[in-house]
């Protein structure tokens, strides 16, 4: 029994492509949930989701120019993400409307444009790879880029962490200090774009935000402290991404959806079992109070 379990975990790792995929997932899991927690605390979860689709035109143009080269597609994605963030910010400042409205409009246009470019210059299989990810196709060059991007994101988070937390808690307090406010937001959005491009390798542009948002949303049900939420979100992401990979290998399922569905399962369990605002706790609390009243 134990041998069978051990085999289930280790057998896939005999293949180089699986080892690379595991490393890519681990790198993503160290950064994505941290950004996800900050996104949810800022009430910007859907912005992260929209932004993940907005990188598609850059990926598509890189695909058109360089074929199915993951490093080129990553760079294209970063460029498209930065342009979208800048345009959304500009439209917001110019029109006075909220940033999410501008982002929602832009991502639809970007998504449609991206799909059009990929289908014109490739085939349905290529479109599938772009939309749903190709973590099993990660080569050494891509893995290095993923690691580099992950390190950059961690360094950026470490430097700006206090300002990012303060912007989420009380933006007015931060903007009164003047010097940080605009830069903090811009840096944060850039880190999110960078992370989504890393995520696009694993989960595709359709679900790149999956490991960012689902573990973060689940963590709110387990801790009322920021450090606790971050640790739980990263832990959940590490477990679900590696388990998702292994499940997809053994059951011959697509990797991206397997990982996201497992993260979704973690979110569902958290809603029910989580000690902070979880359904069971909410149900039990009135019962306990009633019992205490009867005893008293």
């Amino acid at each position: 029994m134990l041998d069978a379990m051990l085999w289930w975990f280790t057998a896939p790792l005999e293949y180089t492509f699986m080892r690379r995929a595991v490393v890519a997932c681990l790198a993503l899991s160290l950064t994505a949930p941290v950004l996800g927690v900050l996104l949810t605390l800022r009430g910007m979860s859907l912005m992260g989701e929209a932004l993940s689709h907005a990188i598609l035109p850059g990926v598509a143009v890189a695909f058109m120019l360089a074929g199915f080269s993951l490093p080129a597609m990553m760079l294209g994605g970063v460029a498209a993400g930065f342009v979208t963030v800048a345009v959304a910010g500009g439209v917001t400042q110019f029109s006075g409307l909220k940033e999410d409205a501008a982002m929602a409009s832009l991502f639809l246009v970007a998504m449609a444009g991206g799909v059009l470019i990929v289908t014109r210059s490739g085939n349905a299989l290529d479109l599938g790879h772009v939309l749903f990810g190709t973590v099993l196709g990660v080569d050494n060059a891509t893995l290095l880029l993923v690691a580099l991007a992950g390190s950059l994101i961690l360094a950026g988070l470490a430097i700006a962490f206090r300002a990012l937390v303060m912007e989420a808690l009380d933006p007015l307090f931060l903007s009164l200090q003047g010097r940080h406010a605009g830069w903090t937001h811009a840096l944060f959005m850039m880190l999110v774009v960078l992370n989504l491009v890393v995520g696009f390798q694993t989960l595709g542009t359709l679900m790149a935000a999956g490991l960012m948002l689902l573990p973060a949303a689940a963590a709110r049900y387990w801790s009322q402290r920021l450090e606790g939420m971050l640790a739980i979100a990263v832990g959940l992401s590490l477990v679900t991404s590696v388990m998702g990979l292994l499940v997809s290998y053994h059951a011959e399922l697509p990797t991206g959806p397997s990982i996201v569905l497992l993260a979704g399962l973690g979110y569902g369990v958290s809603i029910v079992m989580g000690p902070c605002r979880g359904l069971l706790v909410r149900y039990r609390r009135p019962l306990r109070q009633e019992a205490m009243r009867e005893r008293g």
Binding site: L41, G43, I159, A160, F161, R162, A163, M166, A168, L169, D170, P171, L172, F173, S175, L176, Q177, G178, R179, R220, S223, Q224, R225, L226, G228, M229
Partner: protein, 245 residues
């Protein structure tokens, strides 16, 4: 008299507008260091606009705000704070964020900072709430924690917009004592008030906003109705015996 009182905050022929509509104009005056100045006026008279102008959140149409207080020593407690009450942070952590502006992004806190944080919480009577999440605080407890943050910030200029609204009587007493102590150490405090009793207990000077203009007067003048603007001030404070024309 002017020469005796230092002032880090002066307004020079200030004109402020919201959405291209002039709200205040020809505002000329200074806020005394170490004094608590009450800002009074009817709804829409421009109290919040003036505060935004002073804090640099609103660019003047004309004139200027001369403020020698560095940005990291300015604090503002708006009436409805954009504070996420579900944010995973404890009272102590919120109070400690007051260190951030002067402390920088990377430096950690040392024992001295934590000691000062505990002193601040003790002064505000919230030591027992140190580890409680923000979401579990009452309005008064939250207001005490936010004032604690400004104490940690060692604010030299403090602006408060109706700080005693929806706050229990005990908290009002504690906050008034703390604000008076802060003023005694030289902090310039500007506070929007609507309650005459609170105004007479707390304020040293009063600025009345009326018809787009600001006039500096004393608390006594408002109480006795002597100043030219006293009628307006008494009306906006809801003092009986004054009827709107």
């Amino acid at each position: 008299m002017e020469a005796q009182h230092a002032s880090r905050l002066r307004l020079h022929d200030l004109q402020l507008a919201q959405a291209n509509r002039t709200v205040l104009e020809h505002v000329e005056g200074r806020f005394r260091d170490g004094a608590i100045t009450a800002l009074v006026g009817a709804n829409g008279a421009g109290k919040s606009t003036l505060i935004q102008g002073i804090m640099g959140m609103l660019r003047p149409v004309r004139g200027r705000v001369e403020c020698s207080v560095p940005k990291e020593r300015r604090a503002w407690l708006p009436q409805q704070l954009a504070l996420d009450l579900t944010f995973p942070m404890s009272v102590e952590e919120l109070v400690m964020t007051g260190c951030w502006p002067s402390h920088g992004a990377l430096t950690g806190y040392c024992a001295r900072h934590y000691r000062r944080g505990r002193e601040v919480m003790a002064r505000l009577g919230i030591s027992h709430l140190a580890h409680r999440p923000l979401g579990e605080l009452s309005g008064g407890q939250r207001q005490r924690a936010l004032i604690g943050r400004t104490l940690m910030q060692e604010a030299e200029l403090l602006l408060l917009d109706e700080p005693f609204a929806n706050v229990d009587v005990e908290t009002v007493d504690v906050l008034m004592t703390v604000l008076r102590d802060m003023a005694a150490t030289g902090v310039t405090i500007i506070v929007v008030l609507h309650d005459m009793e609170q105004l007479s207990r707390l304020a040293d000077e009063v600025v009345v906003l009326n018809s787009g203009h600001a006039e500096w007067t004393s608390v006594e003048s408002i109480a006795r109705g002597q100043a030219s603007v006293a009628g307006t001030a008494r009306l906006s404070l809801g003092i009986p015996g004054v009827r709107a024309c």
